[in-house]
Symmetry: C2
């Protein structure tokens, strides 16, 4: 098999595999958008559907990629599953690359949608009662 022929190359590149893996997970606009949604703390999947206007199954697939990489973690609360970022330094990565591109990132929470999860309903109720 002559595996040893490439041993120098493999060992030279192998230490960068872990970094490359993180970059691969980040190399999809929907996954970046999801992380932006999680910037201010944990959110349930229904929020992501509402904010992004994407089908549930699609979002769930992208969540699976993020989850399996360890970048996000999930927590079940009744019917809803809440996701949060494991290591907030991932936002530093997004920040730097955002500065490099120079493209303004939209506020993913400004979409004006509302989902029907308990937390949203409570928030709406509170807002209505307050206003």
């Amino acid at each position: 098999m002559n595996l040893n022929i490439m041993s120098a190359a493999i060992s030279a590149i192998q230490p960068f595999e872990a970094q490359a893996q993180i970059f691969k997970v980040l190399s999809h606009p929907a996954r970046i958008a999801i992380l932006e949604i999680l910037r201010d703390g944990e959110e349930c999947v229904c929020h992501m559907e509402a904010y992004l206007g994407l089908r549930q199954a699609y979002i769930s697939q992208q969540l699976a990629v993020l989850r399996e990489s360890g970048i996000i973690q999930d927590r079940r609360d009744g019917w809803n599953i809440f996701y949060r970022v494991t290591d907030p330094r991932i936002f530093e990565v997004l920040d730097v690359v955002q500065r490099i591109t120079g493209i303004e990132v939209p506020d993913v929470h400004q979409a004006g949608f509302h989902c029907t999860c308990p937390r949203c309903m409570t928030e709406q109720q509170v807002t209505n009662e307050e206003g």
Copy 2:
């Protein structure tokens, strides 16, 4: 075609395309290794061959990906082509992700190889004369 059905989704994700593109380019260990080689300034391709122990054609392919993305630029000097990083902030990105992984990045310049490009030959000559 019903293109408008997905318009909300497309517009929600589209602003992150540029970031995703950069991450995609970085999502390969050989390309990260090349950038590490360029950390201290421009280097010729022969250096990368020497340091990484990879075939020339392979390195050239990865250089093309980096070059076409705009992350690196090239400059010809006689027989050799020297590459340099366009925006040093790309190293901030590598730094943060490196901290997240916690994996020590090897010094890609410690390999002890020497190529036969004019600069290497001059350096060797100078070193020998100095020592």
